[in-house]
Every structure is written in C-alpha cells, then in structure tokens.
C-alpha cells in the first residue's frame, strides 16, 4: 500500500514537476516603476496612506466629537441660566414688574364689592 503510494507520489512529482512558468522581466520592470512612484509621493501624503494615519484620524474624530458634546451641554445649561435671569428681570409671568390687569381688576372689584375705598 505504502509502496503504491510512493509510486504515485513519484509519478505526480515527475509529471506535475515538468510544467513550469518562466518569469516575465516586464513584471519586475512594472513593479519597480510602481515602487518608484510610491517613492515620489511626498512623505506627508505617503503618511496619509498608513494605518497610523487612520488611527490618528479616529482619535481626532473622538476628541472633536467629545469636545463638541461638552460645548453643547455647556451652551444648553448657560441658556437655561440666561432664561431664568431674563425671567427674573421681566418676571416669570411676563408682566415686566407691572401689576397685571387681572390684579388691577381684582382690586377694583374688591373696592366695588365692599363699598370701601381700599386705601
């Protein structure tokens, strides 16, 4: 069995080993031209094609996204403060510190009902 296997292996090696492909010198020339092209690219541009550039871009994206989120939160909270400041200045009910007409009406009606002068 192993003798037969050995004969098979020898035959395969002889027949398959008889076929080969010659290397084409044009292939080397083309590869060299591409290497030269890569060499001509300015180093900062070449760096953009490296995995380090991708990592840096992702890091920058995360940092910028974090900063903008933080700034947005700050804007929102300072917005609330200014709203409450304005509210404090003009009055929560929008009366600008003046007596409201309903209050005036109420005081009027009290005078009328009691028949007395409030002051």
């Amino acid at each position: 069995m192993s003798e037969e296997r050995g004969r098979e292996e020898a035959l395969l090696a002889r027949v398959l080993g008889a076929a080969r492909a010659e290397a084409d010198p044009e292939v080397l020339a083309r590869a060299r031209a591409r290497i030269a092209e890569v060499g001509e690219v300015p180093s900062p541009l070449r760096w953009l094609g490296t995995p380090a550039a991708l990592a840096t871009a992702i890091t920058l994206f995360v940092v910028v996204a974090g900063l903008s989120l933080a700034l947005t939160r700050n804007d929102t909270s300072s917005g609330r403060e200014s709203t409450s400041l304005v509210s404090a200045l003009i009055g929560d009910d929008g009366s600008y510190g003046l007596p409201s007409s309903s209050a005036a009406r109420a005081s009027d009606s009290v005078t009328l009902d009691s028949g007395e002068v409030a002051r």
Partner: protein, 186 residues
C-alpha cells in the same frame, strides 16, 4: 536548499537595496509565476499577482526576520494574493477539456526523463493537469506546492499557515480525487 547566500539577500532586501528585488526575482520569479499560473490558470492574472507580490515584498522586507526562509515567505505572499483573487472572482467559466490547460495557464511542459515511450507524455500530463484544475482551491494549492514546486510538508505548512496535519490530509484528499479522475495514477 539554496546555493546562493540567502541571508545576504535578505539583509539587502531589508535595507531596500535597489538591486535586491531584481535578484530575488531572478532566484524565485519562476517559482512565483509557476505557483500563480497553476492556481489562477491565467497568465496575465498570474503576472499581476507576481507584480503585487514584489511590491509587498519590498514594503514588508524591513520587518522580515528570515525565520521561515525567503522562498517560503515569498510563496506565502503569492499564495495569499492568489487566494484573494480567486475569492473575488464572481463568475468562472468552466474549463473545457478540449483546451490545452498548459497554454491557458501559460505553463511550459518540459520533457520528462526516463519516460515510458509507450505512453504519450503530453496526453498524460494534460489529463493530469485537467484533473488538478478541477480540484478545490485548498487542495490544488498543496498539490502544486508539493509536486510542482517540490516543497516539503513543513515548507507548505509555513507557506499556508496551517498545521502539518491539515497539509497531509489535504494532500491525501487531493491525491484520492486525482486517482478517481485519472483511473490509476500509474
């Protein structure tokens, strides 16, 4: 194995010496092209793969420590590129048995020494080549490396990045398939 100073060539490749890639091509270009042609069955595509492999070798050489040997490392790069190409192929026209498989792949057939002249060497070689073409990629890969390029099990293991047991089982399945297709391999 190599009658040339492999470690010196590795050192020159690592230093990206301009002539080193050319020397590697002189030493291993035929094995690279034979592997790519045998796998892809198309000479133009095989040349493209060898070109890409040379570029990768040039780029990766500074990090190559030479543990696996230059031939194994180089053929590993070629095999990976061939596998990528075969994976990307969306449609593969079935090969016709009427076509010459060597011509299609851009392979040349040398005369075999001590061949039994009662058998037509060309007919046997073509029939076997058709059978090799019909093998699945993983089996064709080990058959080409073992019998066409004469690589050892350990070299194939390193080139493919699979355990030796896997190499042996793929070879056994491939030989069984060839035997079935050829009748008897004798």
């Amino acid at each position: 194995m190599a009658d040339w100073d492999e470690s010196e060539l590795i050192a020159r490749l690592r230093a990206r010496e301009p002539q080193a890639l050319g020397e590697l091509f002189v030493r291993l270009g035929s094995a690279m092209t034979t592997l790519a042609s045998s796998m892809l069955r198309n000479r133009d595509e095989a040349n493209d793969v060898v070109e890409d492999a040379l570029l990768r070798i040039h780029q990766a050489a500074p990090g190559f420590r030479g543990e696996r040997g230059l031939r194994t490392w180089t053929l590993r790069i070629v095999a990976n590129l061939c596998r990528d190409r075969l994976r990307r192929r969306r449609f593969v026209a079935p090969n016709s048995d009427d076509e010459d498989p060597f011509e299609r792949a851009g392979l040349a057939l040398d005369p075999i020494e001590d061949w039994d002249h009662a058998l037509d060497q060309g007919v046997v070689a073509r029939a076997l080549e058709h059978a090799v073409e019909a093998l699945p990629t993983d089996q064709r890969e080990v058959v080409v490396m073992r019998y066409r390029l004469g690589m050892s099990h350990a070299e194939i293991m390193d080139s493919l990045g699979v355990p030796e047991g896997t190499v042996k089982s793929r070879l056994a399945r491939a030989v069984a398939a060839l035997r079935e297709r050829m009748g008897r391999l004798e």
